[in-house]
């Protein structure tokens, strides 16, 4: 993979024997201990590790829940209550999984915005970025399928509404959409058959995500990490070994993240959910106000902003799909928005638009809410299709440091001017681990 020096030395005869047959330890050492990481990475770069933790945590808690959950229309709702009340530590494990889904999305959104701000999608990291978009899609599918399983009112009507999106295909070929929806449901409405297949797929998809993540990390280790200055690594002094530097920073970032996670689990396990999901699914009564989980709200707002059934569905899927084309929509030669004085402002406006769409997605689709949703939806697409290429062409980047080392030392220089820096503060990358 990345062409740094191989320093692995087998520690004993067993490791040596293994190394000659399957050099797994050598690969792990080269990729996760010795791997050169840019020395200017900030805490936003800890979210890759945090996301890996989230994936593992969701799989572990999910496998445990599947030991007690009953995927049938008659028993699913009660079995979730059984888990929370009767199963040993079920009160802990069930919220870990439910809140864990939200935490996973918090982390992935930070990760995506980080990539957009620092230009992590630009050459040579296009494939890395596109794999990330696929992971995001698979996560959305998994989360949607999983939300069905408690079989409450929001579960049931969420599935009904989202699967009905495909009925808009009737506007393309009459009958096609209805056929697709019937096929998805395994019936003429959402039933126990739907629940069973959703449970099966909810268990399958995380392992697909694992495969995609493996490719994502592989691609990352071929191109090397981007960094806050968006500069390529030029010399050995631009990097530090992943262990202990990046590993310890990741551990610290993860610990901080886990405090937030634990706060939700122990003090507000239902805060991110909906009270309606404590009412068992009833195919004859729709709740007064249907909303998806918070992490889908911006896309839900885009869906409702378009005054056409098929158009809304297309816009919603395009809002995710457009991310895959970002590497070719951004025409700037500078990666990091840190050195892009104009793009920076449009980026933050984009963040505000996404947050606003999230807010509007939770509001009823009427009056000024719809108007604002249309304005922000328009900006969402204009940002990618117009601003990204044009600003890239027109703006004059600010002056960039010559190298990663220089960018770090300039920062150090300011501190030393203040007279607070400790003696011997990082003159160059340490040679020893």
């Amino acid at each position: 993979m990345s062409g740094h020096e191989d320093t692995y030395k087998p520690g004993g005869p067993v490791e040596k024997w293994m190394d000659e047959r399957l050099p797994l330890m050598r690969m792990m050492h080269g990729q996760f201990v010795d791997f050169p990481t840019p020395r200017n990475l900030n805490y936003l770069w800890t979210f890759g590790g945090i996301l890996t933790f989230c994936l593992v945590a969701q799989i572990v808690t999910g496998v445990v829940l599947a030991m007690h959950y009953v995927p049938s229309a008659g028993a699913a709702f009660d079995s979730v209550q059984h888990i929370k009340r009767d199963v040993n530590y079920g009160w802990l494990i069930q919220p870990l999984h439910a809140v864990g889904g939200s935490m996973f999305f918090i982390a992935v959104y930070v990760h995506i915005f980080r990539g957009l701000y620092y230009g992590s999608y630009k050459a040579p990291r296009e494939v890395l970025w596109i794999l990330g978009v696929f992971i995001f899609l698979a996560m959305m599918a998994t989360a949607f399928l999983g939300y069905t399983l408690p079989w409450g009112q929001m579960s049931f009507w969420g599935v009904t509404v989202i699967t009905n999106l495909f009925s808009s295909l009737d506007e393309v070929i009459p009958g096609l959409g209805t056929a697709v929806v019937t096929w998805l449901w395994g019936g003429y409405s959402v039933t126990g058959a739907t629940l069973n297949r959703f449970f099966s797929l909810h268990y399958l998809l995380p392992f697909v995500i694992c495969g995609l993540v493996a490719l994502h990390i592989w691609a990352l280790h071929v191109a090397g990490q981007n960094n806050p200055d968006g500069l390529e690594v030029k010399s050995k002094s631009d990097t530090v070994p992943m262990s202990p530097y990046a590993v310890m920073k990741d551990m610290f970032g993860l610990s901080a993240f886990l405090i937030l996670f634990a706060w939700f689990v122990f003090y507000a396990p239902d805060y991110l959910g909906h009270a309606d999901n404590y009412i068992e699914a009833n195919p004859l009564v729709t709740p007064a106000h249907i909303v998806p989980e918070w992490y889908f709200l911006p896309f839900y707002a885009i869906l409702r902003a378009i005054p056409s059934k098929l158009g809304g569905v297309i816009a919603m899927f395009a809002a995710v799909g457009i991310l895959a084309f970002v590497p070719w929509l951004d025409w700037s030669r500078v990666r990091s928005a840190k050195y892009r004085p104009i793009f920076k402002w449009f980026f933050w406006l984009f963040v505000i638009a996404c947050l606003a769409l999230g807010y509007l997605g939770a509001k009823p689709p009427e009056g000024s809410y719809v108007t604002w949703a249309r304005i922000f939806t328009a900006y969402y697409f204009v940002f990618f299709l117009v601003i990204m290429p044009l600003v890239g062409l027109l703006e004059t980047p600010s002056k960039m440091p010559g190298s990663i080392t220089e960018s770090v030392l300039v920062g150090e220089g300011h501190k030393e001017g203040g007279g607070t820096a400790a003696a011997g503060a990082v003159p160059a990358a340490p040679e020893h681990r």
Binding site: V64, M67, R85, N88, Y89, G90, M251
Partner: protein, 178 residues
């Protein structure tokens, strides 16, 4: 401070305390994920049952379910009780008197978990048409263990007598198991 090489530094403390904290936290986090597989509150709530014995005539047996396991309840005939009492303890692989396996004043009632102590099959002998084996009690069809009229192992690979569950007579015709 830095001149004294033997003095532990803050970094020494952190490299020791950090991983220790992680290891202890990890181990504590592991426990809920192990304990969740133990019987849940619902299973524990089913831990005792009451059985009405009044319809069971001498020479008849019933099988009830307790904690998911079959429990054999037999109203023994006088002949069966005498046979069981007559056996010399020296002839038993798992010596136990008949009195140790019944409740005083209710010697005709035999209450046992109907699971062979060899590998967990259910012995024959509860139904009228069943073979009761060479000792007239119960006979396990899986590997040929034979039990006598007190449910004691007499022949075959099973190591112990059929287990007597904890139970008590609430009235003369009603018992509580568990």
């Amino acid at each position: 401070m830095s001149s004294d090489v033997n003095e532990p530094t803050r970094r020494d403390f952190l490299t020791l305390a950090g991983p220790t904290f992680f290891a202890v936290g990890g181990a504590l986090t592991l426990w809920p994920f192990i304990h969740q597989m133990n019987p849940d509150a619902g299973a524990l709530a089913l831990a005792s049952i009451e059985v009405d014995l009044s319809p069971v005539q001498p020479g008849q047996s019933i099988t009830v379910q307790w904690r998911g396991k079959p429990v054999f309840i037999r109203n023994r005939t006088e002949k069966e009780v005498e046979e069981a009492k007559a056996v010399k303890l020296a002839n038993l692989p798992d010596p136990q008197t008949d009195a140790e396996r019944t409740k005083k004043g209710h010697e005709n009632w035999l209450v046992m978990v109907g699971i062979c102590t060899h590998l967990g099959c259910i012995p024959k002998g509860q139904s009228l048409g069943d073979t009761k084996g060479p000792y007239g009690g119960w006979f396990c069809p899986c590997h040929g263990s034979a039990y006598d009229t007190a449910g004691r192992i007499r022949q075959g690979p099973a190591p112990r007598n059929l287990e007597v569950p904890p139970y008590a007579f609430e009235t003369d015709t009603k018992i509580k198991i568990g």
